[in-house]
Symmetry: C2
DNA sequence: CACCTGATGTCAGCTCCTGTCATCACGTAG
DNA sequence: CTACGTGATGACAGGAGCTGACATCAGGTG
């Protein structure tokens, strides 16, 4: 055993999610999170930039996966087809994390500050996708619009996937949302 | 003359924008804003919920205008056509406020916290548009996707309108973005 | 004149977050 | 084996954002 219990970061994340869920984000102090993880407040801020970020550590992974899949699409693929590959890759990643995603999302939707943070992560994703499309030769503003549209599809499919009543696979919901988007933008 | 100088709210907003532009958002304290407006810190927080909100007082107006135009579209209009009427209404509103919008946007884009707040205002707009479309009989998820797409069009048109080099009318940029969105979603 | 109202000032206090320095197990060089 | 460096952590002070509670006081109202 080392000098400290291992995985301080993970313990902080777990403690934070638990407390945010138990008593609400605003009613939880960083000192309490740290205490539950057996650490101090100062150490919390060494692992996470702020009180919100502890819930968004996985965002970078999602972005990397999405961008990677789009970048790896065949050169001949149209922008929306490349983005669809990215959406599929993301869907796969979510497949076995439904319960965790649900608890986490319940906390986020319950608080405006956390929703703000979530939105900027999605915006960062859109920006990264825009850059990737541009690297594939797509011009502006088409690249930006396609990226925003793909993120909207992800957002809405995710919203429906989270609903406990549905229980449908993420991939299916994404295909449906994509089809709806095409219908609604071409229909007018 | 009343007991106090009139328009405390407006004075605070003006002082805040000036200071944020001068020395940056983070380097400005609320006490400084209040002092420049001839008020106290406590009074600032009576007018604005937090240090960011002072830049977003007009967001409600934008949302109302957009939603009103969509709601007032002919019943026969397709979702995207109704949304286009909303986009046009918004474009008109921006027409004579370019300089103010530029200064404000420069401050916002320079700071992540302010971008977060901007994003949640846009999300609120998308939610309001979704509700309006649903009121017009559009089902989910089509309503949500159409709303998100319209907000994406607004976002990207606005980005281009702000660029000093361009100087093209907002309405024209919106039409262009809309056409690009249709092209990119139907082309694949 | 007495009273109420509403915008503001004053003050105490919590929480978030940061800078700085101390601590101390572990690894490594000698 | 000792000495030293390293890296994660603790301890402490302090600024800034934000809130609650109470005081103040010009104006309107009876």
């Amino acid at each position: 055993m080392g000098r400290w219990e291992p995985d301080a970061r993970g313990r902080l994340a777990k403690a934070a999610l638990a407390l945010y869920a138990e008593r609400g984000y605003e009613q939880t102090t960083v000192a309490e999170i740290a205490k539950r993880a057996g650490l101090t407040e100062r150490t919390f801020f060494r692992h996470y930039a702020d009180k919100r970020e502890v819930l968004f550590a996985g965002a970078g992974e999602l972005e990397g996966l999405f961008v990677g899949a789009v970048a790896g699409a065949p050169e001949s693929a149209a922008p929306l087809d490349a983005l669809t590959l990215g959406l599929d890759a993301v869907a796969e990643m979510f497949a076995d994390r439904r319960e965790f995603a649900c608890r986490r999302q319940a906390v986020i939707t319950a608080n405006a500050e956390l929703r703000e943070r979530e939105l900027i992560k999605l915006a960062s994703l859109a920006a990264a996708l825009t850059g990737t499309l541009r690297g594939r030769g797509v011009a502006q503003p088409a690249a930006g619009l396609a990226a925003e549209a793909a993120v909207a599809v992800f957002k809405i499919a995710f919203e429906r996937w989270i609903v406990p009543a549905e229980e449908r696979p993420m991939r299916e919901l994404i295909r449906e949302s994509l089809a709806e988007l095409k219908a609604v933008t071409s229909g007018a």
